[in-house]
Amino acid sequence: MSNDPHFGFVIAAYGLGFFILGGMTFTILREYLSLKRMLSEFAARPSAEGSEDSKFPGKSLPKNSFE
């Protein structure tokens, strides 16, 4: 297999494939962990005791809303 004169192109293509697909997976996972950490920091704020509703009275977060 490695005697093929163009074997380097095959290796380069698969290396690039692992880099791109692995990079996308890593980026999404890292972002998820970062968002989870930031959300838990919000919940752990000293002024933010209790639920989100009690943190911001009159501005409750709808359960079926993305924002």
Partner: protein, 257 residues
């Protein structure tokens, strides 16, 4: 479907599905790679270079599939105003760009030893490059427009306009004389390639499809969490500002006295 417009329900579903899909993707990818490298024979003309096909062709299919998902999501945003559609569309764009870039780069690495050129302005290659630029344009659009609602509508319209490129990519090899070969799997007379090469290709394409679905679900989950965080930040800023305003008003009142 409406039930999963509720982010809490969607997050529960995603939490259950993602590990399952990830495990299936890993297993299928291992199987596909072993078939592509150790079972599939070298081509009688191209030799070992043909192994790039098992990466290039699934990447090309997924670059189109991601755009079809985005087009459906754009319709969901504009017509049905499904709250998840916008998140699904936004989450698919970087994935589509990644698969399209992989398709272009592996095509180039395959083209150099076979055609003697890294790139030719052939109809298939050019239309795929246009698809890549559309993906980049959409990503830029979401980052440029600050209002998420306006950004979602603009991106949905842009996506629907760009969908005209999908049939152009598919039929470019039939409509124009291209250096790129015509369709050899999805064609009227059935696949034109040998079963010993077709099966590894099908397994790799299935693995790539599962990978896309896994990453897409994960990216939608991230988008929901990002919006939650944004909302919480705005509420916190509002709460702080109202405190400052009260303090500011008191100060102004005190100054006037």
């Amino acid at each position: 479907m409406r039930n999963y417009a509720n982010p809490t329900n969607f997050l529960q579903l995603a939490g259950a599905l993602i590990p399952l899909l990830a495990a299936l993707t890993g297993a299928l990818l291992c199987l596909g790679l072993s078939l592509a490298w150790f079972v599939a024979p070298p081509d009688y003309q191209q030799g070992e270079t043909v192994r790039i096909m098992y990466l290039h062709v699934p990447a090309a299919w997924l670059s189109l599939f991601a755009y079809i998902v985005m087009t459906a999501a754009a319709l969901g945003t504009l017509v049905w105003r499904h709250p998840l559609a916008d998140a699904a569309q936004k989450a698919a764009a970087p994935l589509g760009a990644g698969f399209t870039f992989l398709c272009l780069a592996t095509g180039s690495l395959w083209g150099k030893p076979m055609w003697g050129a890294w790139w030719v302005w052939d109809a298939r290659l050019t239309s795929v490059l246009v698809l890549f630029l559309i993906y980049l344009g959409l990503i830029a659009l979401w980052r440029t427009i600050e209002d998420p609602g306006k950004a979602a509508r603009a991106a949905a319209i842009f996506t629907l306009v760009g969908a005209v490129n999908i049939p152009i990519i598919k039929f470019s090899v039939d409509w124009w004389n291209t250096l790129h070969q015509p369709a050899s799997v999805f064609r009227l007379g059935g696949p034109a390639i040998s079963g010993s090469m077709l099966w590894p290709l099908v397994v790799m394409a299935s693995a790539f499809t599962l990978l896309f679905l896994t990453l897409h679900l994960m990216a939608i989950r991230n988008e929901i969490l990002r919006r939650r965080l944004r909302r919480l930040s705005i509420l916190a800023a509002d709460a702080e500002e109202s405190g400052i305003t009260r303090a500011g008003s008191s100060m102004e009142a005190a100054y006037e006295q």
